[in-house]
């Protein structure tokens, strides 16, 4: 991941940047997993954590686990840091937009060649 440039003389915004970026990454991974499970029967079976719910159970459980893990790691790394928040925010909105788009079935189908 691109190293975010430190900006001195501002109060630490690292914990907020960690929360924002990890949330966006979690939403992006949700979209990626949703499309991947739709395109691969093998992956869909692997993500079938709770049979009555089907692959949706694995897709969402993994995405939420990765979101929380990412949040914990970034929060620990950026606890006392002041980051260029505009850059973090831009990355976050790109991930969030891609996550939203990937949940939209016609967009996911484009990747799967349908």
């Amino acid at each position: 991941m691109t190293e975010i440039q430190l900006v001195p003389q501002n109060p630490a915004n690292g914990p907020i940047a960690a929360a924002v970026l990890s949330c966006a990454i979690g939403c992006f991974l949700l979209g990626v997993l949703a499309v991947a499970a739709d395109g691969s029967k093998h992956l869909a079976n692997a993500l079938n954590f709770y049979h009555p719910t089907g692959p949706l159970s694995g897709v969402t459980t993994i995405a939420i686990a990765l979101w929380l893990f990412c949040w914990a790691v970034l929060a620990a790394r950026w606890r006392n840091k002041t980051l260029a928040f505009a850059k973090v925010s831009a990355f976050a909105f790109v991930f969030l937009a891609l996550g939203l788009l990937l949940t939209f079935p016609p967009f996911g189908d484009l990747f799967l060649g349908r």
């Binding site: 109060p11 915004n13 914990p15 907020i16 929360a19 924002v20 990890s22 949330c23 966006a24 979690g26 939403c27 949700l30 979209g31 949703a34 739709d38 709770y50 009555p52 719910t53 089907g54 949706l56 159970s57 897709v59 969402t60 995405a63 939420i64 979101w67 928040f85 505009a86 925010s89 976050a92 909105f93 969030l96 996550g99 939203l100 949940t103 939209f104 079935p105 016609p106």
Partner: protein, 191 residues
């Protein structure tokens, strides 16, 4: 006047959890817009009053409702919706199979439900982050416009995701309602 167990649980999922979450999220966005007003924020401030008790309870209830909506949807109602119908069964009790049985209604599942079941999760994830920043980092929120703008943007996306999920849920339940299970008498029958 009767209601079945599945209809009751679906109503709790959509109207109680989902409905409250949507209304609360809209209220939170109004709160965020109000706090984003430069006249109300202090750019020189590095400290701020902690969130009031009612705001804390409000935001926690909002987030809880969001998670309750997606979890009840995915683990209670969705299994009823997608259950495989035995041969010769009444498809009215198997909404997904009912929708897939006619070319004019397959889109409600292939497009509507496929979108709803995934996009819905973005709403509680984003609103959890929004509530956490508002409750834990009020000073930074108060002092930095980029933080306010970003958090407001995530709240707006959470609202959009919840609107999409709630809207499709309501429409799909009109086409193929989740029903069945034990019946409860709500009021005495009239002649």
């Amino acid at each position: 006047m009767e209601i079945t167990l599945r209809e009751l649980v679906t109503s709790i999922h959509g109207m109680l959890f989902g409905g409250f979450f949507l209304m609360a999220l809209f209220g939170a966005i109004v709160l965020l817009l109000d706090r984003s007003n430069p006249a109300r924020s202090n750019p020189d401030s590095t400290s701020a009053q902690p969130a009031s008790r009612w705001q804390t309870l409000y935001l926690i209830a909002m987030v809880a409702a969001g998670w309750a909506a997606v979890l009840s949807g995915a683990y209670v109602i969705y299994p009823w919706y997608r259950a495989v119908a035995p041969a010769g069964a009444d498809l009215a009790l198997y909404p997904q199979r009912l929708l897939m049985s006619h070319s004019t209604t397959t889109g409600w599942h292939n497009f509507g439900m496929e979108w709803k079941e995934h996009v819905a999760w973005i709403a509680p994830m984003a609103s959890t982050m929004v509530a956490w920043v508002l409750l834990k980092h009020r000073a930074a929120w108060n002092a930095h416009r980029p933080i306010r703008t970003t958090v407001l943007g995530f709240a707006a996306v959470a609202f959009l995701a919840a609107m999409i999920a709630g809207g499709w849920g309501a429409m799909i339940d009109k086409k193929a309602p989740v029903q069945g299970g034990q019946s409860f008498q709500l009021m005495g029958s009239t002649k």
